[in-house]
Symmetry: C2
Amino acid sequence: MIKRPLPEPAALQQQYAAALLSDVLPFWETHSIDPEGGFLTCLDRRGEVYDTDKFVWLQARQVWTFSMLYNRLERRPSWLDIARHGAEFLRAHGRDGDGNWYFSLNRDGDPLVQPYNIFTDCFAAMAFGQYALATGDDEARHIALTSFRNVLRRRDNPKGIYSKAVSWSRPMRSFAHPMMLLNLSRELKEFIPPDEWESMNDGWAKEITDLFIDRETGLVFEHVSPDGSHPDTFEGRLLNPGHGLEGMWFLMELALERNDTALAAKSVDTILRILEFAWDREHGGIFAFMDAHGKPLQQLEWDQKMWWVHLETLLALLMGSVRLGRQECWTWFERLHEYTWQHFPDPEYGEWFGYLNRRGEVLLPIKGGKWKGCFHVPRCLYRCSELLKGPFPS
Amino acid sequence: MIKRPLPEPAALQQQYAAALLSDVLPFWETHSIDPEGGFLTCLDRRGEVYDTDKFVWLQARQVWTFSMLYNRLERRPSWLDIARHGAEFLRAHGRDGDGNWYFSLNRDGDPLVQPYNIFTDCFAAMAFGQYALATGDDEARHIALTSFRNVLRRRDNPKGIYSKAVSWSRPMRSFAHPMMLLNLSRELKEFIPPDEWESMNDGWAKEITDLFIDRETGLVFEHVSPDGSHPDTFEGRLLNPGHGLEGMWFLMELALERNDTALAAKSVDTILRILEFAWDREHGGIFAFMDAHGKPLQQLEWDQKMWWVHLETLLALLMGSVRLGRQECWTWFERLHEYTWQHFPDPEYGEWFGYLNRRGEVLLPIKGGKWKGCFHVPRCLYRCSELLKGPFPS
C-alpha cells in the first residue's frame, strides 16, 4: 500500500470538523431520538432501530455529548433540546431509591439491570455536570455532584453486593477507576472546591504512575495488586491497550494544565510504548486485549479492532504532537489516521462502524448497540478538530 | 475442495477410539495433574501450564470424564486414581459453608469467585455421581445428591444474591436449565427413586418442547418468556446453536429409552433445522451465536467456531443416524466430520484446539482454559466410538 502523505493541518482540521457536523451528529439527531423519551441507541448500519433497550451508559453519554458541544462549540438550541430530552428521561427513570444509577432500562424506562456498575454513575455525573453548565439548572448540578460523591464512596467496593469476587484471596485494583475519576473530576471542576480538586487529582495521578504504569515494561496494566505488583494470573497479566491510551491523554491533560513536563513526558512515553506493543503488525490496527507475557487470553474478542480504541489513540497522539511537539506522536498519528479513516467510517450510510475483525472487516454492522453510542466518535472528532487549529510547535 | 467419501464405520470407529485413547486422554494424563492436588487445566498448545487458577467446572468435569470412562469403558486403575485426585481436591476446597460450589479457586484451593453459578453445582453433582458409581463411596454419593437437590432448590433464582437482573420487569427462562437437568438426572439415575426420576424428566422434556423449541421456526431459543413467547429484545432473540444441538441429543436419549418415537423425531428434526440455520455457508462450521431475526448480536464472538459446538453436533447426528436411521443425519454427519477433523485436532502437539475464528483459523492456541478442559472432546470421542460399533439400521 502506498502511503499518501497526510493533508495539511488546516485540511485535516476541516476533515474532522466536517465529519462531526455533517455526518456523525446528524446521524444521531435523525435516528436516535425516541419520541417517548430518551434515546434509542441500538441502530443498525442504516440507522434503523433494531432493539429498544436503553443502556444508561449510552443515555448519559449522549446527554453529555450534546451538552458539551453546546457549551464548547456552539450554542445551538437544537443541541440543548436533545440534551434536555435525555436528561429528563434519566432524571425520571434512571435511579433506584438510593440514587444509584440502573445499568439498563426498557423503552418505557422500567429498570432491567440493577445498579451494579459504578461507571454508570460516572457517566451520569458527567452528563448532568455538562447539562448543568449548559442550563444553570441547580437540580442537574445536584444530581451530578451526588452521583460523583456516590462514586467516591463506592470506589473501594464498586460492585457492592453484586461482586462475585472473594474479597480476601486476591485483592486487585483496576486502572479503570483512577483513570475514570481523573476525567470525571475534570468534567466537574467548576463544582468542586479547588483545594479538594487538586488533592484528589494528585492522588489519582500518583496512583496511575506508581501502580499502573509498570516500571519495567512501561505498559499500563489493567489490574494490579494493591502494592502494584503483577500476580501471574489472567487478570494480573491483562492489558487493555485502549484503556491505557485513553487514560494517558487524561493524564497528559492534567500535566499540561499544571505545566508538569515530567508527567506530560511520561504520558507520551507510555502512549508510544503501548502502541509499539499493541499494534498488529500483520493486519494493522490496535488489538482489543493483550497478555503482558504473550500468554493466551480469556477474552475471545482479543484480536478485534474497536472504534473507541483507535479514536482515543488519535486524540492522544494529536495532543502529544500539538501540545508537546513530540515528532514520534505525529509519525504514529499519520499511521493511525490512515488506518482509522480507511476502516471505520461508513461512507454509504454515515457514522462509523464499531467492531472490526482482526483483518479490519466489519464484524457487526452496527452504528450503536449496548456499548457504542453517541460519544467516542463525536468526542474525538471535536477534540481533534480543536487541536488541529494549532498553534503547532515550530 | 473434493469431498472424500467417509471411511467405513469400522474404520471411523477406530479413528474416534484411537483419538480418545492415544491422543486426548494421554494429553491430560501427562500435563494436567497438579501434584499439589486437583488439575491444572490452563494448558497451552504444547500442554504447558500458562495459568494455575482452578475453575471448578473443569475440575469437576475432569473427575467426571475419568470416572465415567472407568465405569463404562475400562476399569483402568490409573483412571480411577486421576478421578480420586480431583475428587479429593474438590471435596476439601470446592464448597462454601452452605455446600454451594465456588466458581473458581487458586492453585492452593482458596476460593476466588463465589458460588454464583448454578452450573458449577451441576458439574460437581455429575462428577461425584460417576465417582460414587466407580468407588461405591457413600460420601461421594451424598455430595452428588446434595448438590443435585441444591440445584433443584436454587433453580428459580439460580444466581441468588448475585443476580443483576431486576426480577419483575422482564422475567425470562433459560434453555440451559432444563437441558442441563435432563442430562444431570440421567447421570444420577441410579440414585433417584424411579417415580421421581420419571416425573422430573417428564417435566423438563415438556418444558423444552413446549417453551423452548419454537413452533413457528423450529429453532431452539436460548431464553423465552415464562409463557414461551419471544420478546423482541437481545435476550429474547438469542440463539445458541451449540446449546440447542447438545440439548437435542439429551432429549433424544430420553426419547429412545422410552420408545417415544414422536419425541425422538422431534429432537432430530430440531437438530436438522438448527444446522440449516446456523451453518456458515461461506466458511463452513457452526456459528457460536445467532439472532433469530438476523439482527446484530451483543456477543462479539458470535462468528467464532468453537470445539464443543461441533463435537456435540457430531454426537447428535450420529445418534440420529445410528439409533433412528435418519439419512439426513448421516449426510450432515459427513459434512461435520470433515470440518471438525480438518480444523480442531492438533496433529503436532496433540489434543484439540478450542477456538477458531470464522475462517477456521486458530484464534487462541490453547488446549485448555477457563471453559475448555478434559470433557467435551473425550465425551464425544467415547460416545461416537460406541455408536459407531452399531448395529446400523438397514
